[in-house]
Amino acid sequence: MNDDKIVELYLLRNEKAIKATAYKYGKYCYSIAYGILENREDAEECVNEAYLNTWNCIPPQRPKLLRTFIGKITRNLSLKLYEKRSAEKRGGGQAALCLEELAECIPANSDGGRIADDIAIKQLLNGFLEGLPTDMRRVFVRRYWYMSSVAEIADMYGFTHSKVATLLHRGRKKLKALLEKEGIEI
């Protein structure tokens, strides 16, 4: 079933929309949730919640790309649960590593910078990604959106482990430089 038909089922409040979404994107969502949480039950819980959130969002929303729409919902829910688990001292895995790595991007001397709103940072991030070479952009998104491990990314794109690590390091440096240049405080 194509995405338009599935979205139509949501708009018609037909519960088969959930079944079709689970059938088509269940594995995709699970891989996102598992990448962040690294726990089977937690990942399944997030994916099920993502279906319900999608059901509650459509309508009024009507996503252009259902795949990334539900992927974003899954990612957000997984990060929330990750924070909860971290508070319970049960966190870890790729999300923790990604956070550590992204700390490198935060300008150290940011006094006097303006605290930007979400929209401004989103625009800056999109501009930053568009300006990256394709390989670096893919690797960066794979690491910090999907939270795939360096080894998984290397295997996925046929790169060496060190090439992925280098691309990520350069990407983070570029992002930090951009944030500093724009005087944006996260």
Binding site: K72, N76, A95, I106, D118, G158
Partner: protein, 331 residues
């Protein structure tokens, strides 16, 4: 906190960047591409049998047939290929295993066997006349989400009009022959499309009426470690007493039914999962159990001994006594 905010905001980047980072489709020579498509017999099919006699030579009425025609006169098995999905109907990611399936009688799902699996039943890859049991009908394309449904659903044109027979040597409903459109292959029953069917029913369909029909029982014990489940133990049980005990316990199980597709797992199961997550990882054991039947078929299920009072997927918890018995056998 700042890096957390940054990680969250990255979640809202443009869809184009997210899609672009999908795994790269590695190109391969055309020959291998089509050979692998034929071998894997891709795409899930939602078809239903028209349970009346049909013309065995009925040609498919769809122009999208893509598999090369092979003569079926010599009895050779030739797997069904799938019509490649169009851009807008990408049910599967590139690296996912795809199946050709048939739903018989609106609820019984059969999936096409691979070449190696077929060898367990057909040694030289050829079906003789004795293999053919009663003819069930011809495959007809209909919507398959449920019986009173008009919603759209993907269907595989390559199976349309094919004939379906029971596979006679097995003497049960567990295996069928599908043939037509220049292809012929075996399909094995893999479960019911609707909830509420017990393991006992699955065993019955596969011809296991008692423990005496079970050849052996194998299992793999896994525990979560890091990013994956790690295999702790793999073993085989051949002792009849133990096989009989397992069979008796699993055939007593009662499946639960969710109220609707929107309902998650029942509250009692969610509560038990919350407790389960607090256990040490070593106790979060999942045991994959496979009952190999004497007729060559198999039935599998997952058993989590420490979830609630023992949980087998889709069923109410085991009694404490039955769980203790299973633990003794599998630990």
């Amino acid at each position: 906190m700042k890096n957390k905010r940054l990680l969250q905001l990255i979640g809202d980047i443009d869809d184009s960047h997210i899609n672009e980072a999908e795994p790269v489709k590695r190109s391969m020579p055309k020959f291998w591409k089509y050979a692998s498509i034929a071998a894997c017999a891709c795409i899930t099919v939602a078809v239903c049998l028209l349970l009346i006699g049909g013309d065995r030579k009925t040609p498919p009425n769809d122009e999208t047939l893509s598999a090369p025609a092979v003569s079926t006169e010599d009895g050779m098995l030739s797997p069904f290929a799938a019509t490649p999905p169009s851009d807008g109907e990408d049910w599967f990611a590139e690296d996912e295993l795809r199946h050709v399936e048939i739903i018989l009688q609106g609820n019984m799902v059969y999936t096409q066997l691979g070449e190696t699996e077929c060898r367990a039943f057909v040694k030289d890859g050829r079906l003789d006349a004795a293999a053919y049991g009663e003819k069930l009908g011809a495959v007809k394309e209909i919507g398959a989400w449920d019986k009173a449904d008009n919603s759209p659903c993907s269907q595989e044109p390559n199976l349309r009009g094919c004939d379906v027979f029971w596979y006679a040597p097995i003497d049960c409903q567990g295996l069928i022959i599908v043939e037509g459109n220049g292809h012929r292959n075996l399909f094995e029953f893999c479960g019911f499309s609707e909830e509420g069917h017990s393991i006992a029913e699955v065993l019955e369909v596969k011809g296991a009426h008692s423990a005496e029909d079970v050849e052996l029982l194998s299992y793999i014990t896994q525990v979560p470690t890091g990013t994956l489940m790690e295999v702790q133990k793999a073993s085989i049980v051949t002792d009849y007493e133990e096989i009989a005990a397992v069979t008796e316990i699993i055939t007593k199980l009662k499946p639960y039914i969710r109220e609707s597709n929107l309902s998650g797992d029942p509250d009692w199961l969610c509560d038990a999962r919350e407790e389960y997550k607090k256990l040490d990882k070593k106790q979060q054991t999942a045991i994959q159990v496979k009952l190999s039947l004497k007729n060559g078929l198999a039935v599998s299920f997952e058993y989590q001994p420490n979830l609630g009072s023992g949980y087998i997927q889709g069923n109410y918890f085991l009694s404490n006594e039955d769980n203790a018995k299973l633990k003794e056998i599998f630990e």
